[in-house]
């Protein structure tokens, strides 16, 4: 058992590490705050219309004080503009897993304070991701709808074609036995109209709630009919005439209270056994110190066990095969009383490490133990010795084990995540149940500097072969360009912006995030849903 931490707040480098990490966290929070501020600029307009803002809606929907795991807050980072000072990530909706009337649920609140809730870049991917998490984690899906739909100014044929998945997923949620609940707060036209259409329960807000395949302007353009929005799709009309709305709320606040009541009536946990309280100790090392453990410079190694003692119960863990492939850590511990297998990196993965990891993953699979991957990997070891030792086949085995393990998988990008190491350590393509990045982390096929140098080496070799002079000046410029391309895409805000994870978190929250995810997955695995072949048909 290894429990003594070597790093303390007094250790050399701790203060600098922490300062750098908190700077990165501040950057994350500033980006989230920028989006919130932009949305809240419209606060007065919302209130004038008798509405409340999207964030106020979220506040009222959630059980106050119950935990909330925000998802995809960086969606579209730098996709709207190239200016990091101006980009407004996560602008389309505010989403996450939270509790409503004690029920863990997937929650999506259209951010109609920004571009009237029209779909921003990458938002479709994020929406689909949220739906897929709901499907996989058996979460009721609650959507507070007020969206102008697709942004015609940024029309992309792919978005239109692939966007259908949003509605496909709603249908599948319903058929899987997962209630879909929508509150129609404001105009929701064209594709947006199918949001309520494909929901099992719709609460409409009087006067402001509106859903129509085409609003008055489009109807006039298409058919010449001079129609009124209220007649085309007003909530009152839908409640009494079309049957699209089940419950009519007086205003936003009332409608949200009704949505909560709908959830209450699901009695969603009626067949679930209450989880038995497990006694466990908080870590002896404060998780707050996670901010000071990881050096800013990813080339500086750190002992991943320093993370683990700050994440697991009582700071206690057992190490599996500590002396075999020691750079790849396989640890047994518990988080909030839930036993987990942890894989972490103290260096490149070598053949022994890959073998150990494979063995460990399979053993966890056998026992049904959730796996947690703490990524700080520069990849699989290269070089003659390692190739000859079967690095390819051992690495492949590890990837096979990860890809096919059915136990819950949770991945954190805690530092470097490069090359095939990302795959072996359950990167995004390996569909971990949950995947979060720390704001200091970097990912990519390789580091920018390494990529640039590789390309220069290739160029030099080519020039030597042809016997021509190397243009060092051009090469230096090329290196800078390559490094720029790689580094820009390695940023966690950038990758998160492209939905290559589920969000960026404050490292100090990691223990709680892992616990939340473990509880979410645990509930899903214990829950029987009442699936049917069609879903709940709207009558």
């Amino acid at each position: 058992m290894w429990r003594a931490a070597k790093v303390t707040p007094e250790s050399p480098g701790y203060a600098e590490n922490r300062e750098a990490m908190l700077r990165a966290v501040a950057e994350l929070r500033a980006l989230e705050a920028r989006t919130e501020a932009k949305s809240e600029e419209r606060r007065a307009r919302f209130h004038e219309r008798g509405q409340i803002t999207p964030r106020e809606r979220l506040s009222r929907l959630l059980d106050p004080g119950m935990p909330f795991l925000r998802l995809h807050s960086m969606t579209g980072f730098l996709a709207d503009t190239n200016d990091p000072e101006k980009t407004v990530p996560g602008s389309t909706f505010i989403g996450g897993i939270g509790f409503v009337e004690g029920v863990r649920a997937m929650i999506v609140v259209d951010d109609s304070g920004i571009n009237a809730g029209a779909l921003g870049p990458q938002a479709l991917k994020a929406m689909i991701s949220m739906q897929e998490i709901a499907l996989r984690q058996k979460l009721p899906f609650i959507h507070l709808v007020e969206s102008a739909g697709a942004n015609l100014m940024n029309y992309k044929v792919d978005d239109w074609a692939l966007g259908g998945a949003v509605f496909r997923n709603l249908a599948r949620l319903s058929a899987t036995g997962l209630p879909v609940i929508a509150v129609l707060h404001g105009p929701s036209t064209a594709g947006g109209a199918y949001m309520p259409g494909l929901s099992d329960y719709v609460i409409g807000v009087k006067n402001t709630g509106m859903a129509a395949l085409a609003g008055a302007a489009l109807v006039y353009a298409a058919t010449g009919e001079k129609a009124k929005d209220a007649d085309l799709g007003g909530a009152e009309m839908h409640a009494s005439v079309s049957g699209l709305v089940e419950y009519l709320g007086e205003d936003d606040v009332h409608a949200i209270a009704m949505a909560r009541q709908v959830v209450r009536r699901l009695d969603w946990n009626k067949d679930m056994a209450q989880a038995k309280p497990r006694s466990f100790a908080e870590p002896e090392r404060d998780p707050d110190e996670l901010a000071g453990v990881v050096p800013e410079d990813l080339k500086q190694p750190y002992d991943a066990r320093e993370l683990v003692v700050r994440l697991v119960d009582g700071s206690e863990f057992d190490e599996f095969k500590p002396d075999f492939g020691p750079a790849t850590l396989c640890l047994q511990a518990a988080v909030h009383g839930i036993t987990v297998g942890i894989l972490a990196n103290n260096g490149p993965i070598d053949p022994a490490g890959a073998n150990k990891a494979t063995h460990f993953i399979q053993a966890c699979e056998q026992a049904g133990t959730p796996l947690i991957f703490l990524q700080n990997t520069t990849g699989y070891m290269v070089g003659t010795e390692y190739e000859q030792a079967g690095m390819i086949k051992h690495g492949s085995k590890m990837i096979q084990a990860v890809a096919n393990a059915t136990v819950p998988k949770i991945t954190l990008y805690c530092g470097a995540s490069f090359g095939a190491g990302n795959y072996g350590m359950c990167g995004v393509a390996y569909e971990p149940d949950f995947l979060f990045s720390w704001p200091n982390s970097r990912s990519g096929v390789m580091g920018g500097e390494q990529a640039a140098r590789t390309m220069s080496t290739v160029a030099r070799a080519g020039a030597a072969r042809k016997g021509i002079e190397v243009d060092e000046d051009r090469l230096a410029k090329q290196e800078a360009v390559i490094q720029g391309i790689f580094d820009a895409q390695a940023s966690p805000f950038y990758t998160s912006g492209r939905c290559l994870d589920h969000g960026v978190i404050d490292p100090r929250d990691s223990r709680k995030v892992i616990a939340f995810c473990l509880q979410t997955v645990g509930e899903a695995r214990r829950r029987d849903v009442r699936a049917n072949s069609f879903g709940v048909a709207r009558m």
Binding site: P67, F68, E250, Q274, V513
Partner: protein, 656 residues
């Protein structure tokens, strides 16, 4: 003649009080109850309990026959009437005796003699006891009463001759008001005592109400147990009583005590009784004699160390008093405060409702006589007094401070009470000094007491506890095994609006038991340190504060900070309970024919009353009034055909 089972013909705190002493003497007890009191504490305390009728007192606790039947059926040997209800009903006392049981009180003749205020005055005057000048004659014409009123002079008091407890009593300041006062006093007297006979008395305006507790046995022995000062009255209802009376000299006590004993002896008194006097600078005047145990008897018990109920029961058993006047000792000072279900900030209107939480203060020198418990219903049928808190101290000041603290440490949530008012009075300079006159409360607190706005700390405490309750509720439904995730939000959390009735507040969760609450221009950090049932130990901006709280079942809560309990109501989303049925429009549920129409425009209707019958699909649908009111319009004719959703009748609110 002995008995081993006593029926307590009362309810509330006094029934509990009597049962307690009876049980300690080894007697078996029988409680009686009305339909409104099925679950009342006194019912549970007694060995047996008998239902005696419907909720209204006239159909239960005032129904002598029903009480007597209960006593006979349960084999009770005695009936203790408590105070109020049948306690001063000579007929009932006689009926109890006639049925071969003992009435724990004086002989019927004594009740009768003192029950008729007019006759009593005459007897007292004959016995040489100073009386207030007045008219106690048998002639009850308005003419005679007005004449007598002018003779006595104004201001004067009009009282129901059979009255007591402030009912049927009016102060008249000039002749012009007299006729109306007579009429009112008569009707109140009729309603409360079944008699409309009145007496007139000169109003002694700047006097104190000082009464003497007397005790007589059936063997000719009669002693007094000192005085009680009950001058702190609100509209003739005692609110705070104490013993001894502030500034009372031994000589005056002896003089008044001797007069009281003489008064009791004049009517052949047996048992516990109280002779009430008005005391002013010039002397004391006989007011009336209450031939029963008084509400405020505990202050006497606390300064004498006696158990008056036990003494009553012993005397009723035929025992002789064990003590003589010389044995009576007084020690220290006792003050009693009556806890009423009433709204001091709203004209002292009686309050009703369910007591969400009741906890009597338990500090040193404190006695609480309560007739309620957590979950009790306070109904409109009976006196709104819920409990009495009595404090004993070595001196008056110690008793006062203890009482004040006890009020603040007693919790009564769910029903508006006068605890806040009581604590204001207990701290009022005039009361602190002592010796106030009977006009004191009505003058000093003419407008009642302002409820006062809630301090921002109180709102913060309320909001935090509301949130805490919601988290508890959500947590109970959720499958979370531990509390450690409470308050966690990976995005740093959010501001949560909490709409309270009357003000908006918001809260931000800092930790599982820590919040920042903000309101209009203020912000407080609230930390929940401890929860012990309904008691919460909070730290607000670092300062410790203990509060009592209980949810109201509607998202809000009852909160008591210090002595003041409040109902912090939550706004109902959607502008209240939107119920279309209650807008007064009665609509046809489906197409059909109106085969009966029961009402016309202007008719008064009760809730649930049939208005019309609609025949449709071979079924007759009764259309009933959803609310009481007046029919504003009838929009169909009998026999008429209507469509679904058509308005049939519109009911409006009755104009006062």
């Amino acid at each position: 003649m002995g008995f081993d089972r006593v029926l307590v013909a009362n309810r509330g705190e006094i029934a509990c009080r009597v049962i307690r002493s009876a049980r300690s003497m080894g007697l078996s007890t029988v409680a009686v109850y009305s339909d409104a009191d099925v679950g009342a504490p006194h019912v549970g305390m007694a060995d047996m309990a008998v239902r005696i009728g419907a909720a209204p007192a006239g159909e239960s606790y005032l129904d002598g026959e029903a009480v007597l039947r209960a006593a006979q059926e349960t084999g009770a040997g005695a009936v203790h009437p408590g105070y109020g209800f049948l306690s001063e009903n000579a007929e009932f006392a006689q009926a109890v005796a006639d049925a071969g049981m003992l009435f724990v009180g004086p002989p019927a003749e004594a009740i009768e003699a003192m029950g008729d205020k007019a006759a009593a005055k005459r007897v007292m005057e004959e016995a040489g006891i100073p009386c207030v000048p007045g008219y106690h004659g048998a002639e009850q014409t308005d003419k005679r009463l007005v004449e007598e009123g002018e003779r006595i002079g104004f201001p004067l008091m009009v009282k129901a001759a059979a009255g007591g407890g402030g009912k049927g009593m009016r102060l008249v300041s000039d002749a012009a008001e007299l006729p109306e006062a007579l009429e009112r006093a008569r009707s109140e007297g009729r309603a409360a005592f079944g008699s409309d006979a009145l007496i007139l008395e000169k109003a002694i305006v700047k006097a104190r109400h000082v009464e003497i507790q007397v005790f007589a046995d059936a063997h000719g022995s009669c002693i007094h147990l000192g005085e009680r000062d009950c001058s702190v009255q609100r509209r003739h209802q005692k609110v705070i009583e104490e013993a001894p009376a502030p500034g009372m000299s031994d000589a005056l006590r002896a003089e008044m005590g001797e007069a009281a004993v003489r008064a009791a002896e004049a009517v052949g008194y047996v048992g516990a009784g109280t002779v009430e006097f008005l005391l002013d600078d010039e002397g004391f005047y006989f007011l009336e004699m209450n031939t029963r145990l008084q509400v405020e008897h505990p202050v006497t018990e606390m300064v004498t160390g006696l158990d008056l109920v036990e003494m009553q029961l012993r005397v009723a058993q035929g025992e002789a008093l064990e003590m003589t006047q010389a044995d009576v000792r007084f020690e220290g000072h006792a003050i009693e405060a009556r806890l009423y279900a009433e709204d001091a900030a709203n004209g002292f209107l009686p309050a009703t409702g369910r007591i969400a939480h009741w906890q009597a203060g338990k500090s040193e020198g404190i006695r609480v006589d309560a007739g309620i418990e957590s979950g009790s219903e306070v109904t409109p049928y009976y006196d709104p007094m819920l409990a009495k808190v009595i404090a004993w101290g070595a001196d008056r000041e110690e008793a006062r401070v203890r009482l004040l603290e006890a009020l603040q440490e007693s919790a009564c949530l769910g029903v508006t009470t006068n605890t806040g008012f009581l604590s204001v009075v207990l701290q009022d300079a005039a009361f602190v000094q002592g010796g106030v006159t009977t006009g004191y409360l009505d003058e000093a607190f003419a407008a009642g007491v302002e409820a006062g706005g809630m301090a921002s700390e109180e709102i913060a405490a309320a909001v935090a506890l509301i949130l805490w309750q919601e988290v508890r509720a959500a947590r109970a439904v959720s499958l979370m095994a531990d509390d450690l995730m409470i308050g966690f939000a990976s995005d740093g959390g959010r501001f949560i609006p909490v709409d309270l009735d009357g003000f908006a507040a918001g809260i931000r969760v800092v930790g599982p038991k820590e919040w920042v609450v903000c309101g209009d221009g203020w912000e407080h950090v609230v930390h929940l340190e401890r929860i012990d049932g309904a008691r919460a130990g909070l730290r607000i901006d670092g300062r410790r504060k203990v509060v009592w709280f209980a949810g109201d079942g509607k998202g809000g809560l009852y909160l008591q900070c210090g002595a003041v309990a409040r109902h912090v109501e939550r706004q109902v989303p959607g502008g209240g309970n939107v119920d279309l049925a209650l807008d007064g429009a009665v609509i046809a549920p489906m197409p059909g024919q109106v085969v009966a129409l029961d009402v016309a425009e202007g008719d008064r209707v009760e809730q649930g009353q049939r208005l019309a019958v609609l025949e449709a699909m071979k079924m007759q649908h009764q259309l009933v009034a959803d609310m009481a009111g007046v029919v504003e319009s009838v929009q169909v004719a009998q026999g008429g055909q209507v469509t679904g959703g058509q308005v049939i009748v519109v009911i409006g609110e009755e104009k006062a």
